[in-house]
Amino acid sequence: MTTLTAWLTDPNPKSRRQARLGQAWLAWLRLRRNPPAVSGALIVLVLLALAAFAPLFATHDPFVQNLSQRLLPPGTPGHWLGTDDFGRDIWSRIVYGARITLYIVTLVVVTAPVLGLLIGTIAGYFGGWVDLVLMRLTDIFLAFPRLILALALVAVLGPGIINAVLAIALTAWPPYARVARAETLTVRTSDYIAAVRLQGAGAGRIIWGHVVPMCLPSVIIRVTLDMAGVILIAAGLGFLGLGVQPPLPEWGLMIASGRKFLFEQWWVATMPGLAIFTVSLGFNLLGDGLRDVLDPRSESR
């Protein structure tokens, strides 16, 4: 263990990999000093574990209906979070639902921020009319309320997980483009960009190799802070019946089905609601902590 730490904190790394891992180790040390961020990271880790080992954590099959055991309250032996109106175990459904949530989150993460980052850095780096066109396009997308735009898209494309993700991604990129552009504008005039331009580098290399790494931290922070919103929109689409389709155990969908007995059998809607709340909170705390860890401006000390 000590030799590993020594290797990680070696001021003179022997290879690119060691240098990079050393930086990651330092980032982790900084994150560790921020208890809310650590609890956020823990929640996200638990979510990951639940999704990865869902069959181990689930006590029942999430799809099997048992009408003799309808609407059992939490604490019932064998169903510690109770059952829903088809007699399905709510805990098992939440555990399997984590997979769907993570699936949606992951798909959004690999699409919206990447698109936003590209558009933002290109607009910021080139400036002029390129900037004008791209940013007005961004403004148009920003002008629509997100859920409404997503609804419209799903209405055109038809309901389903992939279409829901597509709709969310298409509505989520503009803020990233804004963030990336703002960051690019400050980076663009810096001496290190002038230096690499002076070495004959083309725009593609400069944007990808030199500008994007500087924008990445703010975008990553923004992504984790937005994750809660993405989960909620996905849940919202599910709730409206436009996202994931039954009988899949998507959390928003579960809330929607519990709505009917909200007053008598409150747990049916509340349990998945709590799951959404916890995971959103986790991502928010993590994002807040990452802001301290990744923000280049905080690296001065």
């Binding site: 240098a19 002038a194 230096a195 690499v196 002076l198 070495q199 004959g200």
Partner: protein, 257 residues
């Protein structure tokens, strides 16, 4: 000796928010091969803008720049970057904060498709007096002087003929300044470099350069040889006031007067 770098009637005009600011007005200068030429002046005199205009980082509104008699192309292109490189003033701002020294130094080789990157990076570090085990450090793990050495190494990676030095030591401590100036001197001799150096410090310019152009408000005021400067033979009032205000004159007056 032939004129190597010629600047002919150069003007630079920045336009922003409907206003035009002429940063450089009709400046001409000629630098011979392996000569060191200094530009000196106060802030806003346009001295750094001339360097940036040579590199295509500032908009030329008039005049011509020639290297070896050939006008420089616009955009400058790769052939130009193999010929002319620049060292910036602030070593904290001129290295990419998220790239290792290795990446910073191998980038020019990658851009120009040159091979043998590993050997050349190690050799470059050695040339500027940095230990080889600094290779995978990040800029924030280096002191100001060490960073400036990296910046110099980066400028030398493409084996340029002309080095543009924009206040390369003004952000450094006196003892570190001496080390960096010494490094520049020995590299100049070793690689047969031509220097065009900008500074507000007459003593630094005098130490490094053969000829000096004094600038004020974007215009050339007076060209001085090193001998003229040492003997205080300046013709214009402004050049004299700069000379009188120079810090090392302070001491002579203060301590001997």
């Amino acid at each position: 000796m032939p004129e190597f770098l010629e600047i002919d009637d150069l003007s630079v005009t920045f336009t922003g928010q409907g206003r035009e600011v002429q940063a450089v007005r009709n400046v001409s200068l000629k630098v011979r091969e392996r000569e060191s030429y200094g530009l000196v002046g106060e802030s806003g005199s346009g001295k750094s803008t001339i360097l940036r205009a040579i590199c295509g980082l500032a908009p030329m509104s008039g005049g011509a720049i020639r290297i070896g008699g050939v006008p420089v192309p616009t955009p400058r292109g790769r052939a130009f970057s193999a010929q002319v490189q620049m060292v910036f003033q602030d070593p904290y701002a001129s290295l990419h904060p998220r790239h290792t020294i290795d990446r910073t130094l191998s980038e020019p080789l990658a851009i120009h498709g040159l091979r043998g990157s590993d050997d050349r990076v190690i050799r470059a570090l050695k040339d500027v007096g940095l230990p080889a085990n600094f290779r995978f450090r990040y800029p924030h793990q280096l002191s100001g002087g060490q960073r400036q050495r990296v910046a110099i190494a980066r400028a030398l990676m493409l084996k340029p003929k002309i080095m543009l030095l924009d206040e390369p030591t003004s952000a450094l401590d006196a003892s570190v300044q001496a080390e960096v100036l010494n490094l520049l001197t020995s590299l100049r001799d070793e690689h047969g470099l031509t220097f065009l150096m900008v500074s507000h410090d007459l003593a630094v310019i005098d130490h490094m350069c053969d000829r000096i152009l004094v600038m004020q408000n974007g215009a050339a005021v007076e060209e001085l040889s090193r001998e003229d400067l040492a003997a205080a033979r300046m013709k214009t009032e402004y050049a004299r006031s700069l000379f009188e205000a120079s810090a090392d004159r302070f001491m002579e007056q203060g301590l001997q007067g």
